[in-house]
């Protein structure tokens, strides 16, 4: 019954009131900004396809070059993210205009009152509360059955449009969150095709049709307790993380604990105060400052030596070589490797970078118990 009422409501809103149901997009005009964005997305998809297959892209002929482009995968991710960053504000702009139109129209016409009049047995209402508990269908509108008052109509006129807009805002925020989270993924996991699909979802989320559908879905879900507080994700198969054994998780925590011992020693050493020398210092004061500096330097050196011992043990072990080699290709770590490998680097500069490299390596060996045990053994020896 609720669905029939919803269908009636939807038809009336869309056809009887003449209210726009989607943000306006002029795809027919090839010179419009939107059409240009669309063409840009099409090009970006082709380009991503070429780059992700490690070929460069021929901009003129819109095809892949027959070459080998080693940085293609990373470049494809940049192209994809740029395309998303360009398209999202355009969709946002169209949505803002659409909302303004709805608001203006609500002032001029009986946008919702007409619906209530026609669907006299239908019920439209609202419940204050969190987004998901707001419902538009299924609330007994008893005021309309026993003879309605004009104040009631005004109340529902004022309430219903904001609910729809809130719903659209909520739908859009959900999709945008998905897009944003996916932007960090490599192109292999989040392709340009998926990005375009999500952009289309983002546009559709800001339509009245989707708002009504979602409200209907939310209402139906309220009969199923298990779904009321859970977001439903469709069209994407999420692989859950494996639940690890107590031994595995204990190993992770022990690895962290051992790294933290070194990190804490380094932080304490680096935070040791060394007074600033001034021209008027006495001999005793100068000696005091020199001693403070020596103490600090010795402590920093000691930590650097220990971190260096751990890192050397790792880099000299053949089992770690592929991982270290992979880390060296990460541009975010180039500076760390340079500083650690340069003999002239001071202890103060090298020690934090060594710690950083050890920390990054730990994330890389998360699923390898043998390597984790090896690193833990070295850390425990150093920290003894």
């Amino acid at each position: 019954m609720k669905r029939i009422q919803l269908a009636l409501l939807l038809c009336v809103v869309l056809f009887a009131t003449g209210c726009p149901n989607t943000p306006k997009v002029d795809f027919a005009n090839p010179n419009s900004f939107v059409s240009k964005i669309n063409a840009y997305l099409q090009d970006a998809q082709l380009k991503c396809d070429c780059l992700s297959r490690q070929h460069s892209f021929n901009e003129k002929e819109k095809r892949c070059n027959d070459d080998a482009f080693s940085g293609g995968i990373e470049e494809a991710k940049i192209v994809r993210n740029n395309a998303i960053d360009l398209a999202v504000p355009v969709i946002d702009g169209m949505y803002s205009e659409f909302i303004n139109n709805i608001e203006n129209r609500r002032e001029k016409t009986d946008f919702i009152a007409d619906v209530i009049e026609l669907a006299s047995s239908a019920a439209i209402g609202s419940i204050k509360g969190p987004q998901r508990s707001i419902q538009i269908i299924g609330i007994a509108l008893t005021a309309f059955r026993g003879g309605r008052k004009s104040s009631d109509i005004n109340f529902y006129k004022q309430q219903t449009t904001p609910i729809l807009i809130d719903k659209m805002d909520g739908n859009r925020a959900e999709v945008l969150a998905i897009i944003t989270l996916n932007q960090v993924k490599p192109i292999g996991e989040y392709s340009m095709g998926k990005a375009i699909k999500n952009l289309a979802d983002y546009y559709n989320a800001g339509t009245l049709v989707r708002a009504f559908n979602q409200l209907s879905h939310d209402t139906a879900n309220q009969t199923q307790t298990s779904e009321t507080a859970a977001r439903v994700v469709r069209g994407e198969d999420i692989t859950p993380s494996k639940i690890r054994t107590v031994q595995e998780t204990d190993l992770s925590l022990e690895l962290l604990r051992q790294r933290r011992i070194l990190a804490k020693r380094l932080r304490d050493a680096l935070s040791m105060a060394v007074p600033t020398a001034t021209a008027g210092d006495t001999v005793a004061r100068t000696a005091e400052i020199a001693k403070a500096k020596t103490d600090r330097d010795e402590k920093v050196k000691a930590v650097r030596d220990d971190l260096g011992e751990v890192w050397t043990a790792i880099t000299q072990d053949d089992k770690f070589k592929p991982i270290v080699a992979q880390m060296k290709t990460d541009t975010a770590l180039t500076n760390s490797f340079n500083l650690v490998e340069a003999t002239a680097t001071t202890d103060e500069l090298a020690a934090p970078e060594l710690l950083k490299l050890i920390n990054v390596l730990t994330t890389k060996i998360k699923d390898n118990p043998e390597l984790r045990a090896s690193v833990l053994g070295t850390l425990q020896t150093v920290n003894k």
Binding site: E236, P240, S252, L253, R260
Partner: protein, 111 residues
Amino acid sequence: MSTISYPGSATLADLCRNMAADQADGNQKLVSLEPIVNETSGGAKVNLNQATYAPADILDILDDLNCIDVSTVAGNGQAAEAGHTYTFIWRGKIFVQDKLTEVQVLGKSTT
């Protein structure tokens, strides 16, 4: 920020232990949790808990996580008690053995 999805069928203790381990392995700290129903392309509905982590200095990670079922009066009392020694991280509903359950997550640093 990164996310890890855990099976909604897991016990609260298993989930908590794994989140603590993922904090440690990823040099990150837990920010929030969200229950998700994943309608897979095969048509199945899979309950998941999606944890969001933020990159963190390893000294700032609250490595000892304490997850408490606060759907009962006793659980609420336990959470209030734990609040004296642990730092509040997140509270809300997640799947515990596939049932949506109000949970509070607290943490403290052991170093």
